[in-house]
Amino acid sequence: MAKIGEFELLVLLALLRQAEEPYANRVREDLEANADRRVTRGALYRTLDRLCEKGMVEWELEPSSTPERGGHPMRRLRITDEGLQAVRESHAVLMRFFDGLDPVLES
């Protein structure tokens, strides 16, 4: 957990959960629907920028594919090996800390 914050972790997980390489709207929808939180656009784009700076996410520009985008391009997001590594580490840390707490949490 040292390298990334909770919201960053959620964003990375959301990226992994998509069937094909997603763009920001898909990530946002997933987070809003399944992580049960309100995601403002500004926060999401900033987090993506930060993750990119940390080398955990990269993207490819893709020309506009649907008329609905008004001719604007799209960012296809991809998690890097480094990002995947960070997720694994976070997962391990969480697992270690949750371990043995079941009686407390279920009571």
Binding site: T40, G42, L61, S64, T66, E68, R69, G70, P73
Partner: protein, 888 residues
């Protein structure tokens, strides 16, 4: 059609996010969600949603961007909290600052938005910079700028600098079309255009197709009802299609019954092309019909406004030179031909030309107001800065770096500027909505007015810059080691004390000066407006109501036609409360056609003659309008087809057309198709506009010159127009139930429309001048009340030394008056120097008008006095002991 996201919001975002590909992906994401919102919640809710998202994104991005600019990522949240706290501590300042920024941003955005479609944005056509207007020689009225259709035909054939040429019948607004058989009968206003008109402009129909060549050949009907020439067709304007047919696409291909003949609806114009707002402002246009280029239409004289598309690379000068040589060649080939002439000018510049000075004046005024807002803002911030310096010093002693302090102040300024801009956006939106929704404004392209995102961004930027520049001063001033001094509570910051006061007083003087300039501008325009309104139009507009009687009946000869109108008149005259009734084919300030003729027995050069505005009237018209008889007699019922041909001229025509002038005009003859004797002279009527010199006018009895399309029924009555309308409508329907009568105009509204663009300029300028005055008063008040607070100690000492409250009060008020006088002198001189540029907008008033300048001086002095009074009274009530203690 895809519903696009709100343009202004998108532009605002581009401004904040930049135009990199990455930034555009964000716009794309938003656009996609917007499209979904449109599907799920409708256009309006989606637009609201988009604005909300865009604003929140813009605010959070700029706040973060600002923080990055100072290379500090942390502490922003804390600083924002400080900023909000600072605002809460001084809500009055925050509210004032927000409001004045809102005022400035709103006013300048509104003005730029109104001006830009006419002066800045390209016309809603393809490659509009290649479009030109080909006018006839300069002259009076529409006939002066329009051409015969043979000119269009020959120019088209010979001119090589043009890719294509087309035209429309400039007088077609004067014919109207009764639509029956599709719902309730309605009178439509249509314009006749050549079949390739839209093509030349590069406008494609939104639905259906353009006119075909064959349809362009349509020429009316034979007496037996058979169409002559091609099939008759009609295109609908977008507005009419939506209004009347609920935007039903099935109407294309169907048939409309216009003036008793079926017309096929071939297409619908796109919403972006509003014929009326470009070519015929304030005239509603429902339909377009074909305008044939034939010998028959050529015989109708100067009728056609010619629009040409230059070949790529061809300039206006080359086109002008070529057309001139074509005109010369044609004149040589056909020495008898008249009405040849060509003057080429770029279409957009030509359309905007009459409105340019007024628009530029508004732009200058809005700019000035924005400047005043900035000065006022600086002033308020400076006045606050001694207190802020203290706060900053405390925070520095607690370990805050200067960067942090600057950042906090910048955040505060940004917050104020942004919230002011939101108010400004609302102001601009309301103003623009008001202007675009005002029908009857005689200014082109107002329908296309929308809040201009670029102007908004620019105004916001200026306000932001001012806020940033001045707002950061207190933090920068607290240099290293100055904390103790700032904290000691003495008033020796650099904006406190005499030096600081001088800066602020200088700002007040500037502000007063600029307000003076705006007051003089507003005053001059107001006085011009008053002079225009005082012009005697030559008829009594009060109590007159007009109906357009556009019958589509075919009459069996002149007697039947006259009997029809006699019946209508008799029926309307019988309505209780109607005092008199008349008929005319060209009301003042309405139709704009000229005829030519010669006075019998007067010498003329070959192609010379008299030109005048003709009015075809019944014998009751002149007395109903209360147009004064100067000499001779009015028409009587006996001036009919059996009587000798007669006419009545106005004084100007009597003076200029006939040798011997007014005294000799009666009994002279002019050459129409036969010789017509002048039997009377009536007073001049302002036919084109109130502020223009009167023109030659000639009245003909309708039964002798039945050369009219539609007639206007004028009714004089003391009844309120709405009451009168109902009973006159019933009376007309009793004679002809198919004649639409819902549309009536009071003659006062006709006069009103003629001054509408002047009134718009006036309203905006007066609003600006008023705001400027208010801001200047606020500025004076703020400076004085801060300086009173600041000088409490000094005042206390002076009181202790025996100065009376009255003396202290007088001293302060006099000092303020001194500032105001300095501002008045500065502003007055500027206004005197700048007034000359206004001359073309003024009427009946000199740019140096002493009344305007006098009023300005009185108003500014009065306001300065009032603004000074409250702080002065407060100062004079200062109790010396408390003052000395608290300031010690």
């Amino acid at each position: 059609m895809r519903a696009a996201p709100p343009r202004v919001a998108e532009r605002l975002l581009t401004l904040v996010l930049g135009s990199s590909e990455e930034a555009r992906t964000i716009l794309g994401d938003l656009a996609e969600d917007h499209a979904r919102a449109v599907r799920e919640r409708g256009k309006l809710a989606a637009a609201g949603w988009y604005w909300k998202e865009a604003l929140s994104l813009a605010v959070s991005t700029s706040a973060v961007g600002l923080a990055r600019g100072f290379r500090v990522g942390r502490g922003v949240a804390q600083d924002s909290r400080y900023a909000v706290r600072a605002i809460r501590r001084d809500p009055a300042f925050f509210v004032f600052a927000t409001l004045i920024i809102g005022l400035g941003v709103g006013a300048s955005t509104a003005v730029f938005s109104v001006v830009s479609p006419l002066l800045l944005l390209p016309l809603p056509m393809e490659e509009p910079d290649r479009l030109v207007l080909v006018e006839n020689e300069a002259g009076q009225g529409l006939s002066g700028v329009t051409s015969r259709t043979s000119n269009l035909r020959d120019f088209r054939e010979r001119a090589r600098t043009f890719e294509a040429m087309a035209g429309f019948n400039a007088f077609s607004g004067q014919g109207s079309y009764n639509m029956v058989g599709t719902g309730s009968p309605e009178r439509l206003s249509g314009f006749e255009v050549t079949h390739d008109f839209l093509d030349v402009l590069g406008v494609a129909p939104a639905l259906g197709r353009d006119f075909t060549f064959e349809e362009g050949d349509f020429l009316g009907y034979h007496a037996d009802g058979e169409a002559r020439g091609g099939p008759n067709a009609v295109m609908l304007t977008h507005g009419f299609w939506v209004r009347r047919f609920g935007a039903d696409p099935a109407v294309v291909g169907s048939s409309l019954r216009l003036n008793d003949h079926p017309h096929e609806v071939v297409g619908v114009l796109p919403p972006s092309f509003d014929f009326s707002s470009v070519f015929a402002p304030a005239q509603p246009v429902d339909i377009l019909l074909p305008w044939p280029i034939t010998d028959e239409t050529d015989g109708w004289g100067n009728t056609t406004t010619i629009v040409g598309r230059l070949r790529a690379g061809a300039g206006v000068g080359a086109a002008q030179a070529e057309l001139e040589s074509i005109v010369r060649a044609l004149q040589e080939e056909q020495p008898d031909r008249w009405g040849l002439g060509a003057r080429v000018s770029p279409l957009q510049a030509r359309i905007a030309q009459p409105y340019r000075p007024g628009m530029l004046l508004l732009v200058a005024a809005a700019g000035l107001l924005m400047l005043i807002v900035c000065v006022n803002l600086s002033n308020m911030l400076l006045a606050r800065s001694p207190r802020r310096s203290r706060e900053m010093a405390i925070r520095r002693t607690m370990g805050a770096t200067r960067g942090r302090l600057v950042r906090q102040l910048l955040l505060e300024s940004t917050l104020v500027a942004l919230s002011g801009s939101i108010i400004g956006l609302a102001v601009a939106w309301a103003a623009v909505r008001h202007v675009a929704g005002t029908s009857g404004l005689d200014v082109p392209l107002l329908g296309a007015v929308d809040v201009d995102g670029l102007a908004l961004a620019f105004s916001v930027f200026v306000a932001l810059l001012t806020g940033l520049a001045v707002g950061a001063a207190p933090a920068l001033k607290v240099g290293d080691g100055d904390e103790a001094e700032a904290l000691s509570g003495s008033s020796r910051g650099s904006t406190a004390g005499p030096a600081g006061r001088r800066v602020r007083e200088l700002l007040v003087v500037t502000e007063v000066a600029m307000a003076c300039v705006l007051l003089v501008l507003g005053g001059l325009v107001l006085r011009s407006f008053q002079s225009v309104m005082q012009v005697d139009p030559g008829f009594q507009a009060e109590g007159l109501v007009a109906w357009e009687l556009g019958t589509s009946r075919d009459f069996d000869g002149l007697p039947a036609l006259m009997a029809y109108y006699d019946d209508i008149i008799a029926s309307v005259e019988a309505v209780p409360g109607v005092s008199s009734v008349g008929l005319v084919d060209a009301l003042p300030m309405g139709r704009n056609r000229t005829w030519g003729s010669r006075v019998v027995g007067k010498e003329y050069a070959d192609d010379q003659g008299e030109s005048f505005f003709p009015h075809i009237v019944d014998h009751r018209y002149l007395s109903t309008m209360e147009i004064l008889l100067v000499k001779g007699r009015l028409f009587t019922a006996d001036d009919n087809s059996e009587g000798a041909p007669v006419a009545i001229v106005n004084e100007t025509a009597a003076r200029t057309m006939f040798p011997g002038g007014v005294d000799a005009a009666i009994g002279q003859k002019i050459d129409m198709r036969s010789e017509v004797e002048i039997v009377g002279i009536v007073a001049d009527v302002k036919h084109r506009a109130l502020e223009l010199v009167p023109d030659n006018e000639v009245y003909f009895p309708m039964s002798q010159v039945p050369d009219f399309g539609t007639l206007d029924l004028v009714v004089r009555s003391d009844l309120p127009p709405s009451v009168l309308a109902a009973s006159v409508g019933t009376a007309v329907a009793a004679v002809d139930p198919e004649l639409p009568t819902e549309d009536y105009r009071t003659m006062t509204s006709v006069v009103e429309r003629a001054v509408s663009s002047r009134r718009l300029t006036l309203q905006l300028l007066v609003a600006f001048a008023g705001s400027a005055l208010l801001l200047a008063a606020l500025g004076i008040y703020a400076v004085l009340s801060y300086s009173v607070t600041e000088r409490t100690k000094e005042i206390g000492i002076r009181k202790a030394l025996g100065e009376s409250a009255g003396e202290i009060r007088r001293g302060l008020v006099m000092r303020t008056i001194g500032l105001a006088v300095a501002g008045i002198v500065l502003g007055g001189l500027t206004a005197l120097a700048g007034g000359r540029t206004l001359e073309s907008l003024l009427f009946g008033v000199e740019p140096t008008d002493p009344v305007t300048f006098g009023a300005m001086v009185a108003i500014v002095l009065g306001v300065a006095f009032l603004a000074a009074l409250v702080p002065a009274i407060r100062a004079s009530r200062t109790d010396s002991a408390t003052a000395l203690r608290s300031a010690g």
